[in-house]
């Protein structure tokens, strides 16, 4: 019995050692990023590991004075909000049809949509660039909204079709008997039940859309259309030798994501695993 307890104690300690070491490797680089952004250049070199002597926001003040960071932030919020809304609305409508109506080419259409799950949109960049120039959306965040929406639709269709198929079709029939139109069934019966799945679709797309760097790098030229990731890269180049400022740029780019993740973590983890379990 004693042996048993000793073994349990040993296992527990080893578990904690592993988890602790892993937690440290996650948090320490992020900790370095934040504290360095609060230091003066002198302090960064004389005491790189310690906490700053006093709270020094000079780097942040310089960043906001020399760049239009508020604008970049608004651009990123706009691109993300509009893309996620379009993904959810468009995918939900298509998913309802794919889940509920038998018609020729239904399976082909479904496959065509789901194929997008493994097609990296970056591989179409050359043609997309030509298209954006032709459409007059080059150097505008509209181009980013279009590619991000296209990128998110496959997962939306995949997950939402599955969800709608789980809603018993007796509900549809009951509504039909009560005189509800076919489209009305979607809006009044299905949509309210779909809310958690719609939120999951939006959440799964939040990270890739917010963090997208490749398309802004290629599509965006003017300062006024920059998003946060593109601005981060350009400011990094601009301030390269001013370490405090560089870390302020990195911290500003990360904190909104970190906070929204921690706030919504429970939902995040649930939504993201949907794909794995269904797949």
């Amino acid at each position: 019995m004693n042996m048993e307890r000793l073994r349990k104690y040993r296992d527990r300690t080893m578990l904690w050692a592993c988890l602790g070491a892993y937690g440290f490797t996650i948090l320490y680089p992020l900790y370095l990023m934040v504290i360095t952004s609060l230091k003066s250049t002198r302090e960064i070199f004389t005491d790189p590991f310690g906490l700053p002597e006093r709270l020094n926001l000079q780097n942040y003040l310089t960043l906001f004075e020399t760049s239009r960071y508020d604008l970049y932030f608004i651009n990123s919020v706009t691109v993300t909000a509009v893309s996620l809304t379009l993904i959810v609305v468009l995918a939900a409508h298509a998913a309802y049809i794919l889940a509920r109506y038998a018609f020729r080419f239904r399976y082909a259409l479904y496959l065509l949509f789901v194929m997008g799950l493994i097609l990296p949109i970056r591989l179409g960049t050359i043609s997309l660039l030509q298209t954006m120039i032709r459409y007059g959306t080059y150097d505008s965040i509209v181009s980013l909204i279009l590619v991000n929406t296209a990128m998110g639709i496959p997962f939306g269709v995949f997950i939402l079709t599955d969800f709608i198929k789980m809603v018993p079709s007796e509900l549809d029939n009951a509504a039909r008997i009560d005189g509800c139109s076919e489209a009305g069934i979607f809006y009044h019966i299905i949509r309210p039940l779909l809310k958690p799945a719609l939120a999951a679709t939006a959440l799964v797309n939040l990270i890739p859309v917010w963090n997208d760097f490749w398309f802004p790098l290629i599509f965006i030229r003017s300062d006024a259309q920059r998003t946060v990731p593109l601005a981060t890269a350009l400011l990094f180049g601009q301030f390269q030798t001013n370490y405090g400022l560089v870390f302020a740029v990195l911290t500003c780019a990360s904190l909104p994501v970190i906070f929204s993740y921690l706030l919504l973590s429970r939902h995040f983890v649930k939504s993201l695993t949907l794909g794995a379990v269904k797949g």
Partner: protein, 313 residues
Amino acid sequence: MNHTTSIPGTRSVWPMIALFTVPAFLIYGRFLLLPIIQSIGVSFYSGPGMNPSEFVGFDNYRNLFTRAPYNVRFWNALRNNLIFFAIVMVIQNAFGFFMAVLLTRPGKGVHTMRILSFLPTTLSVIVVGFLFNMILNPTWGIFNEMLRIIGLEQFIHPWLGDPKTALPIVSIAVSWQFLGESILFYTAGIDSISPEILEAGKIDGVSFFQEIWHLILPSLVPIIGIVTIMIFVGDFTQFDIVYAMTTTRGNPAYGTDIFGSLFYRAAFQSPSRGGWGLGMGATVSTIMSLMVFLGVSFWLFIFNRQKKRFFQD
């Protein structure tokens, strides 16, 4: 369970079917499917500017495989990308699986660690790249300083400046960021193993490693497949990490140049900075599409043969 297109007593539902599916398909088709196909088309053309117009058949491919300087850059990127993929895959699968086993043990704090493990994945890749770039930066030298403090002075090294270490370091940075994703998938897999199986194992008195080998691992095979194919597709289109850590040239001496950075330079930069024109750029991206296609087909063949049909209802 499925309804036919005309439900008794109602009008045809065709207009609604079209109205509901066309907008989604239009955006998806026009800005994802079609561009990938059209980019393949561009790879058969040559010429300056935005619309290469001279049809050259497979010449671009011939140049890419056999003519300097194209072939040098191409085979180098292929080699680097394979090494990059191999390192990331081993780290993410091995550590991801190991951590997932620990994170599915009952215990306080485990839940917090699960949430924490995914945190780096939420960051933008360029932020992570710049962060490690700074930490490994030889001028500031904070990583080397850490080594000195813990008494490992003999390991002090210009990590991103040495062609031998740069690529492994970039691979480790990517693994650091996306380990949380593997953990997420593996914990989901372990959580969905029926508790009776693990309970039965406990009653039979299996050891920790027997439990992993005989009870957990077999039911995770499909997840290993999903994680690996996600890493494969991600790594063969990866660009941001190279941009942030070793620039678009894949320094030092193209030691970290992978397909993503080669594609970017070839297609979108001026000739003085490594640009080859859109036709050659499209050739590189077509090869990338081909690699992804082969990888995914292989995965479907190996892991999904017994997958359930979608419309069995």
